[in-house]
């Protein structure tokens, strides 16, 4: 029977990644050192090694073997846990990840870093690694004979370890023709007999010219310490007589042999063939060549491991739904008005069931954010080393759950923010001491839920952002006008603009091409937003606000003429009835609305999408003030409808991209509503305004030319 091993590879990869993450985080905590931690690191390495061997990744096995051996010495107390070992082990984790990545992506990898780390491991191990590895290679292959005599005297308790002599004999029979004599001498009388003990002994004869003593002993491998075993080659004449010589009382039993007339005792001399049975563990593949795996496992569309409790709760809820459904359908059989109350109650229940079911299904896609946070202790460790700053990382709320897709996409922006905090936020030890702060800098990583969103805060106790430096730099880069009046937070958020970098020199850590603007872009692509807060001398906080999921959106339904649109709730600042005294028509088409001390441009939705509206006058309209990219605008709509969760359907997949619209949804009455893409709409409105401005200028120039 052959089993296609490739089907288990995705699982192997998944658990390898988990194992590596565990090794990494444990190694970082190892500095204090305790047995359980080192044990769990060892176990993780051990599992990866075992899996890699089984699924045919010899290069991973070989490398991990070194790691495991080192860990074993540390675990046994034969080796001290020093930072030198920890560093090499961390490096090894990277190497293993590199190899696992290569398997997952079916690509090649850079061998050199692995060779370097291998050497380091070997160097550490040298002296101690000598006899361990070759322990299980067979010492020698004994000579062959055409017939073997085996005397097998098991201890009485042999069967109590689950071994069964008959099965051993069956295994011997696979090697050749077998003759079994049971010796019943030591059988006690019936009254003395203990049914759990084994009193029999055996004398066996095996006829085969290709069997070695090694082969035979291997069959008895598991019981060799629980029996007396003699294996001797038999002389080629008269093997029968020898067997009878043992005892008169022995009973001969011929074990049935399926189909052969094979080697009779008088066959030729023992042929000595150096045929070594391949030892399963002893000969790992040493070539570090690329490994091609016939697997379709790709990171996208991967699997989610879901806790049983989540599935159970789902099943429970479906059960409840079925009950509600049967109640309702019974009610519908002969319905009259007297049953309206029951119907209302039933529908209420249905609503409840649906809501719970929805939440429960959503939870299946939810993973604790620790999956994204796990890499940070290592990152901080490495960054601290590189920058020579002493930094502590404090993580809170790592059990906060987040949608898997969001999690996968937020990882890199978070890394950048943390890097930024270490590189630009935390000052050098001297500066900190001079400022009267503790020498050790702290970076906090917090996650928590807030009103249907998840908030991730990256906070440092560094020097804070220099408002003036940012302002001047933005001026220099032409991002703002000298007269621009900005709040502190708006100034700080300028560092998230494209083409902005205050770092005097580009360091190795941050500012390597990927700027903070990309961070902002990525967060916005997820439907989230980022805010910056900073106090000089006390530190900065980057607050990332993300939707819990990308599949469902909290929306505000608004009406424009006959059409219903969905405005993502996360973007809404406030909704208000426009008052005419606050309306300010600047230059022709542009309308500004005075909102307290800000002027907010008004975007009439009907104009943008060419729709007939109830009212085209701002005075009678409702304004929904939304914010994106730090820019507030007022969307002019006819009516505010309900707030509800909507399921996002992609327009691109079902139709095509439409600017100003991020997707569509189906409402309760079956009609389709478009979900507004707020940053897109702002951009559209700006483009239109610019175009008009240019046209106007052009027109004026033309008119000027005419005059």
């Amino acid at each position: 029977m052959s089993v296609d091993l490739s089907q288990f590879i995705p699982t192997f990869l998944e658990e390898s990644y988990e194992g590596l993450a565990l090794m990494e985080s444990s190694l970082l905590n190892l500095e204090q050192g305790d047995d359980e931690t080192i044990n769990s690191i060892f176990r993780a390495a051990h599992s990866i090694k075992g899996g890699a061997g089984t699924f045919g990744f010899g290069h991973v096995t070989d490398f991990t073997h070194l790691v495991e051996t080192l860990l074993d010495e540390m675990r046994d107390g034969r080796r001290e846990i020093r930072s030198e070992e920890v560093e090499v082990l961390l490096e090894s984790v990277d190497c293993m990840r590199l190899m696992i990545d290569a398997i997952q992506n079916e690509t090649d990898y850079d061998n050199s870093s692995i060779d370097v780390t291998s050497e380091k491991l070997e160097l550490l191990l040298s002296g101690s690694l000598s006899d361990d590895t070759g322990a299980d290679t067979p010492v020698e292959t004994s000579k062959n004979a055409s017939s073997w005599q085996i005397i097998f005297i098991p201890e009485h308790h042999l069967v109590q370890t689950g071994n069964d002599p008959l099965l051993l004999f069956n295994a011997l029979e696979d090697l050749g023709e077998l003759k079994v004599n049971a010796i019943v001498d030591s059988l006690p009388s019936l009254t003395e007999m203990d049914v759990e003990e084994l009193y029999l002994q055996w004398e066996l004869q095996l006829f085969s010219d290709s069997v070695t003593e090694q082969d035979i002993r291997e069959v008895f491998e598991w019981v060799e310490d629980e029996c007396e075993l003699e294996v001797t080659p038999v002389s080629f004449d008269e093997p029968e007589t020898e067997s009878t010589s043992l005892d008169e009382t022995s009973e001969t039993a011929e074990v049935k042999q399926p189909n052969d007339e094979t080697p009779s005792p008088e066959v030729t001399a023992p042929n000595i063939e150096p045929e070594i049975t391949p030892s399963p563990a002893g000969a790992p593949v040493t070539e570090n060549k690329e490994v091609k795996v016939a697997t379709k496992a790709k990171p996208e569309g991967g699997s989610i491991r879901v806790g049983v409790d989540k599935v159970d709760s789902l099943i429970n809820l479906v059960g409840e739904l079925v009950i509600t459904q049967s109640m309702l359908s019974e009610l519908g059989n002969d319905f009259d008005l007297s049953k309206v109350d029951k119907l209302t109650a039933g529908l209420e229940q249905l609503l409840q069931n649906t809501k719970e079911l929805q939440e429960s299904v959503m939870r299946i896609r939810m993973l604790p954010i620790s999956f994204a946070f796990n890499r940070f202790p290592r990152l901080i460790h490495d960054l601290a080393k590189k920058t020579g700053k002493d930094i502590e990382l404090i993580i809170n709320g790592e059990n906060t759950e987040l949608d898997k897709t969001v999690m996968e996409q937020i990882g890199d922006p978070l890394v950048h923010l943390v890097r930024n905090a270490v590189d630009h936020g935390i000052e050098t030890a001297e500066k900190r001491l001079a400022a009267g702060k503790p020498e050790k800098g702290t970076v906090w990583l917090d996650a928590y839920h807030q009103g249907g969103n998840i908030v991730i805060e990256i906070k440092d106790d560094g020097g804070g952002i220099n408002r003036d430096a940012v302002f001047n730099k933005a001026l220099e880069k032409g991002l703002i006008e000298p007269t621009t009046n900005l709040t502190d937070n708006q100034v700080f958020e300028l560092i998230l603009e494209p083409g902005f970098s205050t770092a005097k020199e580009v360091s190795d850590i941050s500012g390597r091409g990927v700027g903070m603007d990309v961070v902002k872009k990525n967060i916005q692509a997820l439907g989230g937003r980022i805010q910056v807060d900073s106090t000089p001398g006390e530190g900065s906080t980057f607050k990332v606000n993300l939707p819990l999921t990308l599949a469902i959106l909290d929306g505000q339904l608004v009406r424009v003429g006959e059409e219903v649109f969905v405005v993502p709730l996360i973007t809404i600042v406030e909704s208000l009835q426009a008052k005419s005294e606050n309306i300010n028509r600047v230059s022709g088409d542009m309308i500004l609305y005075r909102l307290r001390d800000e002027n907010v441009p008004v975007i009439p939705i009907f104009q943008l999408f060419n729709l007939p509206a109830d009212s085209q006058d701002v005075d009678d309209s409702l304004l929904v003030v939304v914010e994106a990219d730090g820019q507030k605008v007022g969307l002019m709509v006819d009516d505010l409808l309900a707030q509800q969760q909507v399921v996002i359907k992609s327009l691109k997949d079902n139709y095509q991209d439409v600017s100003g619209v991020s997707g569509a949804t189906i409402l309760g009455d079956g009609s389709v509503a478009m979900i507004l893409d707020i940053p897109g709409i702002i951009q559209m409105a700006l483009d239109i305004a610019n175009k008009k401005q240019k046209e106007k200028q052009l027109k004026m120039q033309n008119e000027g030319a005419l005059i």
């Binding site: 029977m1 052959s2 288990f8 192997f12 599992s47 899996g51 089984t54 322990a135």
Partner: protein
């Protein structure tokens, strides 16, 4: 149909063992550590136990010792599935009452042929 308890903390290995056994007509029950294995073992009779050695919460050696204390597991074959090929680990397994061992890496064929040595 023979019923096998498969105990391993590695999902891939457990899947592979279980899949192979099912394909060969065995019924399997899976557990991801010794403690879970012990609990599942107490819930029914098994013809064979295949267990990893290195596992969190409860390791395979302890599981083996605990199983041997149960009357219904007194004679049940217990195979230790392990990368430890050293004599030391084998002896520890034997002392704990293991029937035999299967050294990783192994393939499905090797698994089935080994099982035939302990299960009728």
């Amino acid at each position: 149909m023979a019923k096998v308890l498969v105990v391993d903390d590695s999902n891939s290995i457990r899947d592979m063992v279980s899949f192979t056994l099912k394909g060969a007509g065995y019924e399997t029950v899976e557990a991801s550590n010794g403690q879970e294995g012990l609990t599942k073992a107490q819930s029914g009779a098994f013809d064979l136990v295949i267990s990893d050695v290195n596992m969190p919460i409860m390791d395979g050696i302890t599981l083996c010792q605990e199983l041997r204390k149960l009357p219904s597991f007194k004679f049940t074959p217990i195979l230790m599935l392990t990368t430890e090929s050293s004599t030391d680990m084998k002896m520890k397994g034997k002392a704990a009452g293991a029937t035999g061992w299967l050294v990783k890496p192994f393939n499905p064929d090797k698994l089935l042929s080994t099982i035939k040595r302990v299960i009728r």
